[in-house]
Amino acid sequence: MTLLSVRSLRVTFPTRQGVFEAVRGVSFDLGRERLGVVGESGSGKSMTGRAILGLVRPPGLVTADRLELEGQPILNLPERRMRKIRGNRISMVMQDPKFSLNPVMTVGDQIVEAYRLHAGGAKAAARQKALEMLAAVQIRDPERVMGAYPHEVSGGMGQRIMIAMMLAPDPEILIADEPTSALDVSVRTEVLNIMDRLVRDRGMGLIFISHDLNLVAQFCDRVLIMYAGRIVETLAAPDLHQARHPYTQGLLNSLPRLDAPVDRLPVLQRQDAWRDGDTITQSLETEFPGGL
């Protein structure tokens, strides 16, 4: 079943040197699965997420042959309607919780507000719900965290709070843009576990945007590899190491590895042909271990 369908998505920015194409014709379908989007900085992976949510600011221009949420077109909707979709049906978790939480409101007030904005209802009920959500992201002492200000919580805790907030309205799709890049490895595993469980239990579709190939391969079901605004390869996550596109192979090889020491790291030789070559698509059996 397709939650989100994207065909030939383009994002362009006019500049003095001409039109800059940040995203150049991206197409994919998202089911109830964990879909990883991997690429280096400037590959257009974050811009793809923002374009889906209608968060590209003018003079940036978003076009697509199709951008549909469960069959309903959502491309360039008026801001008022887009805001409804953003809150209720698609949520986004950003890289650094420090910039996404309001520094002068307590965590509890922010979650309650986020919840009531979408579900309405009495304050007391919303508060109860907020406590439940904090518990759901495995915060052991939700009462205390509710009263804390964002600067009083750690990075991992902040990211869990963000996830709790984003999940409050029970969205169908969660877009996570580098949700663990600012976190230490030990905390990272916990946050990923929480996201994984929530996605599975609620049957959500997850778009996981990251620069970390190995992490995405281990966490997601399916991976899109982006280069220069295009998807150059799609494959099932377990098959990442059998990647056929030279760019994907190059990225994997350039990582230093503890188990396979080398004197010199192979350096990625970029080729112009990658910019416009065909997408290598692995024929996928529809098998989404995350649910269905």
């Binding site: 280096e40 900085s41 990075g155 230490d184 490895v185 030990s186 990272r188 595993t189 990923l192 576990n193 994984d196 469980r197 620069h211 190939l213 190995n214 992490l215 281990q218 966490f219 190059g250 990225l251 350039s254 990582l255 230093p256 590895r257 503890l258 188990d259 020491p261 080398v262 004197d263 010199r264 790291l265 192979p266 350096v267 990625l268």
Partner: protein
């Protein structure tokens, strides 16, 4: 080349004093590449900054090339021996200074002559080429900026290079280029490295020995073979190694 003995570093005054590093000791032999590993807040960068003289609230012994650093202020000879490369190449270059200004100012401060020729050599050394001489930071990519920062550190012809997460702000393909460059430079100039990183694989690739830090203390000093074998003595190190191997679904 570098000896750190019973080093304590703190910030602020009681009762708000934070002890960032407690009782840290290690030595780095000439020509060696030594790694400092730990999670954020473990005090690994703080040690580097104390050695460089950017923090003056420390006690204990820091000796470079056999000479203990007693004064808070460092002398000219120190800056000719020890240089540092910072984590974020977007923050370590002055936004209004072109590559030319950065390098020529550095060379002049270090009392070098023949500046034009030296700038050309430095740019060649770090693989940028002379065409980059008059560019401003905003005309450079992250990897190119880090190359400029490395050129700046090399200008003084130091013997000890302190590397504070030199690739953590870069893409992996660029990281490979910078790590190769650093390895080449070490071989070419006989440099000693002290490298801070949160990435065990990077340290495993670059270093001969490493110290693992947790909450301001060094919990273990080991060589890279032991790290590769996974034969760590301490629980914490083992956990760190396990976590760095990636995500295993719970």
């Amino acid at each position: 080349m570098l000896t750190v003995d019973h080093l304590n570093v703190w910030f602020g005054h009681p009762p708000d004093r934070v002890d960032a590093v407690q009782d840290a000791s290690f030595t780095v032999a000439p020509g060696e590449s030594f790694g400092l590993v730990g999670e954020s807040g473990s005090g690994k960068s703080t040690i580097l900054r104390a050695v460089a003289g950017l923090i003056d609230t420390w006690s204990g012994t820091i000796a470079v090339a056999g000479k203990p650093l007693t004064a808070r202020k460092r002398d000219r000879a120190f800056y000719k021996t020890v240089q540092m490369v910072f984590q974020d190449p977007y923050a370590s270059l002055h936004p209004r200074h072109s590559v030319d200004v950065v390098l020529s100012e550095t060379l002049r401060l270090q009392g070098m002559d023949d500046i034009d020729r030296r700038i050309a050599r430095l740019l060649d050394d770090v693989g940028l080429g002379r065409g980059f001489r008059f560019r401003y930071p905003h005309q450079l990519s992250g990897g190119q900026r880090q190359r400029v920062a490395i050129a700046r550190a090399l200008a003084a012809e130091p013997r000890l290079l302190l590397l504070d997460e030199p690739t953590s702000a870069l893409d992996v393909s660029v990281q490979a280029e910078i790590l190769n460059l650093l390895a080449d430079l070490r071989a070419e100039h006989g440099l000693t490295y002290v490298m801070v990183s949160h990435d065990l694989a990077v340290v495993g690739h670059m270093c001969d020995r490493l110290a693992v830090m947790q909450a301001g203390r060094i919990v273990e000093v080991m060589d890279v073979q032991a790290l590769r074998r996974g034969s760590a003595q301490q629980d914490y190190t083992r956990r760190l190694i396990a976590a760095s191997e990636g995500y295993a679904r719970a």
